[in-house]
Subunit: 422 residues, 2 copies
């Protein structure tokens, strides 16, 4: 059996910790592992860096950057991205948290906002610069808001001379009734209280109506409000990869409102037992009547299941049905506060936080990364020091790397300048 | 006394280790420390993120992004950059190693070259992709060449299925007679032999005549040669920041051929005891008759001297002359091989390498970074694993982050597709 792994990126990214890159705790390489390194010792597996352009379902071929790869079995796990409710123009102003580049761009915007506020003499503009809006009250938005509050209240506390970073206003906007809506309601409440203790303003039942360069407009039961801000992080409206639509068109499979493909009990497409769809692209509702959530444990278990199914098929056996074992849900809010739900057991506070650390640590792919992340977490916990907070980026993005153009105010003259002896 | 630190970047960068970011051993944050964090506890110091537009020498004001800062004493240490011998158009094709963005861009080009070679069926193009040229035989070029050879021969060895990365040809081009020309000649020789043992082709007395997208042209005693390559790293032709020219125009000071300002014995400008110029921008020849080299220890000692001089002036005392204490020179070539010159004592091989590690480690600004770098070096040494090798960058630079555009080869029909039951 020969396995070809195709990806547009050369590394596997542990997305749950992206928000820590965005808030300067971790470096990108801490949560990423090169694909070739992961499968290095697996002789039957090769990696192809490239972008899928089309899938020829009848001919069983995938076109990758002009080269055709034939397959017997195809597994598609192209994930999901953030959608902007029909406003793709908002993406530029309000980046999501899906890729490494997203995370470093958000990091850049966060830090630049404080830098600009430090130099800003106009009070109104300064208020705008020190207001941060996070859209989406799921785990990503909640963790991002908590981490941002911690930066403002602790990490940056002594570093500015003209502003107090603790004055930063952090607003978490959630359209539904509560944050962490997929968790039990008492844990949602605990999470919201933790956020508010950190100084985050939680606005539930509030929807974003518009995003502009220096403000957002939100609608809620009582009306409409304009929030002056230039730093918006988008963590709402998840939509499956467009590959899903294409596969639906080619195979006759159905997609749901979020663009996910509705899959069979063994994760294959209807009438196409040779095509499997996993992870955030798939809608698997056979177990509970509701689609499984788009979280890492689901994708991991589905991947293992399909691998087992395929090897069984080659031996003439079959495992007809995928069954997800839910281990639990967790979210962390700042330090020492978290919520964890394991069904019968629920935790909050410090215990939940320790559990969260361990689970996430063990899910990092390489031991080296686990060690480095463990140390950086330990360092951050003791010192509040978030030392991965570099402002990086291309020259036009505000981190100039070219030589400055200099004009001199004093004209050149042949007389020596006035003598200044102290 | 009030101190204002102005910089275009929000972090201090330890440049000697940039080549390790470029070859995927370290992450950018490992060799950078946020400026605000460094001076956090220093109450009389503030940081301003901005670009100097002009210096009004008569009025003693600096214009930074539109705001005027008045000074009693001005210290300028804007460094140097790589020059391309009158060919600025080469910079896009052959990046230097001065900034974080340089390093991650070089990293991207190196890794992409191997990825493209893996898929390349044309032998001639593959040879071109697997040829890497480094221009400049100083410490930067030598260390870069050694690290690149190690990647190709060891780190990537098992990761590709259609190419053998060890086939990579690495060429180090040096215009002078020997590499590391500022070191004693026996150490230059040792360094060259170490490089050649690693499989690097060292071309001394060779100059770059042209740089194109898929080749470089080099001239040497015997003629001219075209080297097919698409990955060129530039580590030659250092030139001082343009601020030097402007200051020379405004104060009447002289600049040398490399654009450096010729400074007095106390590092001030002639007739301007209130303006100091340090580091790579300064030409200090009073000690040996030759300008001090543009290396970190020189800049560090100059900084300390000027700080002492200024505090002494405030007390009515003076220290007239700067004196550089040369501690030694070091360069490392791959692992376990290095050369170190401490005047009477010289080392090569493993001992030199250990010394190099310790000296560079202790020069990193923060303890956290020392710990992280120490661990990553240890890991790399034991496993050859260079796990910070992510291909990152904006979408048009070859690491696409947008959604793929999909066209399906099979037309949609109302008939169900042929049934494929295994």
């Amino acid at each position: 059996m020969q396995v070809t792994l195709v990806d547009r990126r050369n590394f596997h990214l542990f997305q749950p910790l992206l928000y820590q890159v965005a808030t300067g705790v971790l470096s990108p390489a801490n949560i990423a592992a090169p694909l070739r390194w992961i499968v290095e010792r697996q002789a039957n597996c090769e990696v192809l860096l490239g972008e899928v352009q089309s899938i020829d379902v009848t001919g069983r071929r995938v076109l990758v950057d002009g080269a055709a790869l034939t397959y017997d079995t195809l597994i598609v796990a192209a994930g999901a991205h953030y959608s902007y409710f029909g406003h793709p123009e908002w993406e530029q102003l309000a980046p999501g948290l899906k890729t490494i580049e997203n995370a470093t761009e958000i990091r850049r915007r966060l830090l630049i906002a404080f830098e600009l506020a430090e130099r800003e003499t106009d009070i109104v503009r300064r208020r705008m610069l020190l207001t941060f809006v996070i859209v989406g009250g799921g785990p990503t938005g909640v963790e991002m808001a908590g981490a941002l509050a911690e930066i403002a209240r602790h990490s940056l506390k002594h570093e500015f001379r003209h502003i107090d970073p603790a004055d930063a206003q952090i607003v978490l906007v959630e359209a539904g009734e509560r944050v962490l809506s997929s968790y039990p309601s008492d844990l949602s409440e605990k999470a919201q209280r933790s956020l508010e203790r950190l100084g985050v303003t939680v606005r539930t039942r509030t929807m974003v109506a518009d995003v502009a360069a220096d403000h957002v407009v939100v609608n809620w039961g009582g009306g409409s409000e304009r929030l002056p801000t230039q730093t918006v992080v988008w963590a709402a409206g998840v939509e499956a990869s467009p590959l899903a639509k294409s596969l639906a068109a080619a195979t006759g499979a159905t997609i749901d409102r979020a663009g996910r493909l509705i899959v069979e009990r063994d994760l294959s497409l209807p009438n196409h037992p040779e095509i499997f769809v996993l992870g955030d692209m798939a809608n698997y509702s056979h177990q509970t009547g509701q689609p499984l959530p788009g979280v890492a444990p689901v994708a991991i278990q589905q991947g293992r299941f399909v691998a087992k199914l395929i090897t069984n098929r080659l031996r003439g056996r079959s495992i007809p049905t995928f069954h997800y074992r839910e281990l639990g849900n967790m979210a962390t809010i700042g330090r020492s506060a978290a919520v964890a739900d394991f069904g019968k057991l629920r935790f909050s506070g410090f215990v939940a936080w320790m559990l969260w650390l361990v689970v996430h640590l063990m899910n990092l792919v390489s031991f080296r990364n686990r060690l480095l992340v463990f140390i950086q977490w330990g360092w951050n916990y003791v010192t509040y020091d978030r030392s991965a907070r570099l402002i990086t980026g291309p020259p036009d993005a505000g981190a100039p790397t070219g030589s400055p153009s200099i004009e001199l105010a004093s004209p050149r003259s042949t007389e020596p300048p006035a003598d200044n002896v102290t």
